[in-house]
Structures are given as C-alpha cells and as structure tokens.
Symmetry: C2
Subunit: 226 residues, 2 copies
C-alpha cells in the first residue's frame, strides 16, 4: 500500500512520516522548495526521509516569492519574534503563506495519482497555531471532496484519502508520539528564520521549545538563544 | 477590480481573458511551464496576454515530468491521433494530467490572495472533451469551498470566486464568442504535439478544427495537415 507523505523536515511532518512507516505504508515523501526563507528545512527533510527509509523522495521546486504575501516569502515582512503562545493564537499570522497547503496538497495529489497511492499524509495541526486557515478540518474535508471529483482515480471510485493524524493533538502530544516512534529530533528543523542555527525566538521555535519544556525534556537541536 | 485569469495560450482561455478584460476587470494572467510536451503554448500565452493588455503576466515553473502519468508529461505515452469527436468523449484520455487543474487553481488562488483579487477566471469546458474530471462543475464547486475555508481572505468573508464562463458552451459557441470579442486566433495555440506547426491530428487540434469547420470558418493557424 502506497502513501504520499508531505515532509517539510519539521517536527510535525517527521512524526507523521515515522507513523505512516510504522503502520506499514510504503512511503513516498514529497517536499517543496518554494524559495521559503527557511529553505534550510529541505536538508532536514532529506535527512528524515532517508532515516525512516522512504521508497522515493521528491522535491518540487517553484517560486512563491514572485508574489510574496508572507513573511516566509518576502524578506521585507519581518518575522514576529518572542511572542507568547497566547499572542500567536489571536489572529492569522504574517507567516501565513497564501494557499500554501492547497498548493502542497495539489502536488501530493498529482504524485499520488501518478504512482497509484491511496493515501496522502499531512502533518497539519489545528490546536496550536490555530490561526492558519489551511490547517483545519473543514478545509481538509473540502479538499477531500475536490480530490474525489477532480481526479481520474476519484471518479473511478478509488479515492485518494487525506489523512491528518495530528490534527487534534497538542504540540506536547506530538512530541510524545514522536518519542515513541523514535523520531530523531536532532535531524529535524522548525525555525522560520533561515539561519545556520535555529533562532529560538520565531513563533515556530517558541512553540517547539515550549512543548519540550512542558514535558521536562530537552530539544536536542542547537539554538542561538542558549 | 482585480481578476486572476488562467492563460494557457489556447482558444478557450484566450476567449476568457478577452471577455474578462471586456467586462472591465484588471487582468492578472497566470501561465504554467510544467515541462509539458507543448511548451510552445507559452509563447502564445505571452502574445495573447500582451495583445489584450494585462496588468501583469506570471509564468510559474515546475516539473510534472518527475512523476509523469500523462501523454503530455511522459514522451513514452503516445498522443492519440485522428480520433473522431465521438471517440474522444468515451473515456478519460491519456492526455489527462493528474490533478493539473487542482495545481493550476491553487497557484491562481495564492496569486489572487497575495494581490487582493476577487475572482479567478478559468476556461474549462465540460461539454466537449467531457472526459476530463477536473473540467466539471461539481469539481469546481468543491474547489470553491476549499478556497473559502483554506485562505485568510475566505475566512474573513471576502471570498475569491472561481468563474468558468465557458463551462456549458460548445466549442463552436466559444469560437463565436471569441470572434465577437476579437480574439486574435492566429496568436493562440492548442496543439498537444509540441511541433513548430500545429499537427492537425491530436485531439486538441481536431476539436478546434471541427469547430471552425462547423461554423464555415477557417482557422487562421497553419497546420501540418493542410
């Protein structure tokens, strides 16, 4: 049984990849070089894909800096720094990239249909960072319907299912799940800032560090702030 | 009022672009270089966009040959030749590209949201060539729902509307509409084969030629077959 797994190299998608593999799926990883500020994550995506042992790892390249609209694709928009978790939850952050998950899922769908996969795994998570509109269940259900109707495979009754196992988990629960699955956290990458070492102050670093701290664990990644 | 218009350089999307412009929209054209067999169409897309006068024309580049799955992205799959219109209508053709319109619409959505556009025009057409699953109304409705839920703009109540003005038109009606709008057919390109001159025998050429013929008109494009 083949599954396409979206793999950013981050904590969430690495956990999903390890889980899909543990459940016996033949995993086909897909990553995206969209000229994101933190393209450094792609090295981690490659390291994680090869650690877990995927059948194939595709990196799709395109340029979302052409129209920007996000702090991740336009360097003139500053990354928020040192925000509390409460502050992060109040609104859609400037790190929202217009339609990014719609683009990612579309490529995953194309890949899945070409190789005859029956599932697409995505590590979205609606609880923390609930500001992102394209990380919620109702959105994924709408995409599922588009997948059913917009593909040959779907029209022929062999639906490609979107699976989001982390959707209702807290970040601490994801870390616990990843620990159980043996995810090598030192090979992952979450920081938005694009430096050599994780910044420790962007929203993504802060969410990650807070989860490890709440569990009384140490994140093995080096951080500029410690 | 800004609209993003998908522009392949073909007969249908050129007509849609001319219509959107005639209705007073500020048009932002978007084209895709996906390493298609008939990349030649991109020259036509550029010529049409500049003829009609768009505000901006974006060409997004990525490679769908990585996983193929279509005669348009895998040269080992032959293009069907000299099929009748009745034959074309019987099944999903090998020129179906997995999830292509889903990918195209996703990029259009990202672009639309980044520039604050309120519409996306797409020249799909369900009557002729009804084999393509991603050219039908129910699919577009599902994408509309995903657009509503998966974007900042949609969640804030300013929906980006998918408009498919040709969805229920016959190819002959599209040619008549294009004639009324003054679409310069000689600058468009429909052929799948990727040659210097349109082949005249692929499904796309045959549909186009049949429409002109039925109307008693001559397609001004040169064809290898005449």
């Amino acid at each position: 049984m083949k599954a396409v797994v979206l793999c950013s190299g981050g904590l969430d998608s690495s956990t999903v990849l390890y889980q899909a593999k543990a459940q016996g799926w033949e995993c086909y990883a897909i990553s995206f070089d969209y000229q994101q500020r933190h393209r450094r994550e792609l090295e981690s995506a490659g390291a994680i894909a090869s650690s877990v042992g995927v059948v194939e790892h595709q990196t799709v390249r395109f340029d979302l800096r052409k129209w920007g609209g996000s702090a991740l694709t336009d360097n003139s928009i500053d990354l928020p720094e040192s925000r509390s978790l409460a502050e992060m939850a109040t609104s859609i952050p400037v790190t929202y990239v217009p339609a990014r998950n719609t683009i990612f899922l579309s490529f995953a769908l194309s890949y899945a249909e070409a190789i005859g996969a029956s599932r697409i795994y995505i590590g979205v998570n609606a609880l923390d960072y609930s500001g992102y509109p394209d990380c919620r269940s109702d959105y994924l259900q709408a995409m599922q319907q588009a997948f059913r109707l917009g593909t040959k495979q779907g029209r022929e009754g062999e639906e490609i299912e979107i699976v989001a196992p982390l959707i209702d988990l807290k970040k601490t629960e994801i870390v616990q799940l990843g620990n159980k699955l043996g995810v090598p956290w030192q090979k992952t990458w979450s920081c938005y800032a694009g430096g050599e070492v994780a910044c420790g102050v962007c929203d993504s670093c802060r969410l990650r560090l807070a989860a490890f701290e709440e569990l009384g664990l140490t994140d093995p990644l080096p951080y500029a702030t410690r």
